[in-house]
Symmetry: C2
Subunit: 231 residues, 2 copies
DNA sequence: GATTGTCTTATGGTATACCATCATACGTAA
DNA sequence: TTACGTATGATGGTATACCATAAGACAATC
């Protein structure tokens, strides 16, 4: 049994990898990036023939990509009115922040317990980059780097599925997140909160990491709530 | 301002609703149901032309539906090998149960605090139906009713987004869930655990509901883990 | 100037055609 | 009988055609 298992593994390793990239997957990536980077605004209609021209692909590819983005919640389609970028819904936003709080704090706890030293060190480096992006006045860069931070946190904690969930939910409140980042005075507080979390991770303080993460999400949830109540 | 708001609301109420159902949305529902009801087995290839014949629609509709199911995680597509029903991955299954534990116990807590009496009473009725389905030896009916129970729990708790997340994750471990239900002796224990949760809800015991839910998911996670280790 | 009727254009829904690539089957030669 | 080469069929990827419906533009009438 062991012998055959080893030989199977050897055969698996021999297999030629097929990494042909389809037009569809390239287009999906570009569309998702364009939405998350506000090149398509929340509420903006996504007219199929217009997208064909901009992307240089056929309607088949565009329609399949729209179906994918629809399932991800980034696009909503009203029958016979067509697709549009999803707008943040206040009630849903509040629930999304709550789910984030639950999943992120659990990931922070697990990270403090299990993550390799190198991974925790890397998180510190990303916080520095977030700080630099704040200083150069690049909100998109701040958002991008913050996403990178959390991806590394979740992966280091061994929670890839939770990361998929959080990334998908975050995409739906991308605009709100951008607005909380752009708040006056948010720079200093955000960096302080992230360093607090990182310090807890460094000293392997699971409860401290949990609490720092929970508090951070509660803070940004409150900011987002205030923004929504002004719209 | 108030006057115009009222007049806007009156105009909104007057609007004609367009509820035309596309072939695509009907097909999506049928495919999802077929997968969740094991008419397509985990790992089974979904050949486009075969699906066209079975469903009586064109490849355009089939491909768009496959893209949607792909984004939901129910289908996976290997380039140039085609789509297949997603198979449960042990590492991902463990993480999915953990996320369920976090979200379901929070929903149970909120349900104990906030849900209307009628909603909690309704939950009791669904447990009775689950019991009956166990007794008639209908695992599919047990699975269906259990899904119904949790949907009502989340909605009563006001956590529709979390329900979307849990439903989507559950779809990916549908086969595992079916196998834990089919375990010998599971009937009695499952019903007891659900009644424990319901009793806590009835007496508005938030901490008790939280703990009962957490323990229940931990139990089924353990059963699923044991099943996976035997495969 | 406003309203109504009609025509045209825009757009999503769906079907089908074509192509490239890969797997399988068959024939031939050693 | 086995191995190799070639042909054929299967299948996913992509493009395009056609249709129906709704929205918008324009002209005529009051």
């Amino acid at each position: 049994m062991v012998a055959t298992t080893e030989s199977n593994t050897a055969n698996e390793e021999m297999k030629v990898e097929r990494s042909v990239t389809t037009l569809r997957s390239l287009t999906l990536e570009k569309m998702r990036d364009a939405i998350l980077d506000f090149r398509f605004k929340p509420g903006e209609r996504l007219v199929e023939r217009t997208l064909c021209e901009r992307l240089g692909v056929s309607r088949s590819v565009v329609r399949e990509v729209l179906r994918h983005l629809e399932a991800e919640g980034l696009v909503e389609t009203i029958p016979h009115q067509g697709p549009a970028v999803t707008k943040p819904d206040p009630a849903q936003a509040a629930q999304i922040y709550e789910i984030r709080g639950l999943l992120e704090s659990e990931a922070a706890r697990a990270c403090a317990l299990n993550a390799p030293e190198a991974a925790i060190a890397e998180l510190g480096g990303v916080i520095d980059e977030i700080d630099a992006a704040f200083q150069t006045g690049s909100p998109r860069e701040v958002l991008r780097r913050t996403t990178e931070f959390y991806e590394k946190l979740f992966v280091a904690a061994g929670k890839e599925v939770a990361w998929d969930v959080v990334r998908s939910l975050n995409a739906r409140i991308n605009h709100l997140r951008s607005m909380t980042i752009a708040q006056e005075g948010r720079h200093r507080a955000a960096i302080a909160e992230m360093r607090l979390l990182h310090a807890a991770l460094l000293r392997r303080d699971a409860a401290g990491a949990y609490e720092a993460s929970r508090a951070h999400v509660a803070t940004v949830a409150g900011l987002a709530g205030a923004i929504l109540s002004r719209i």
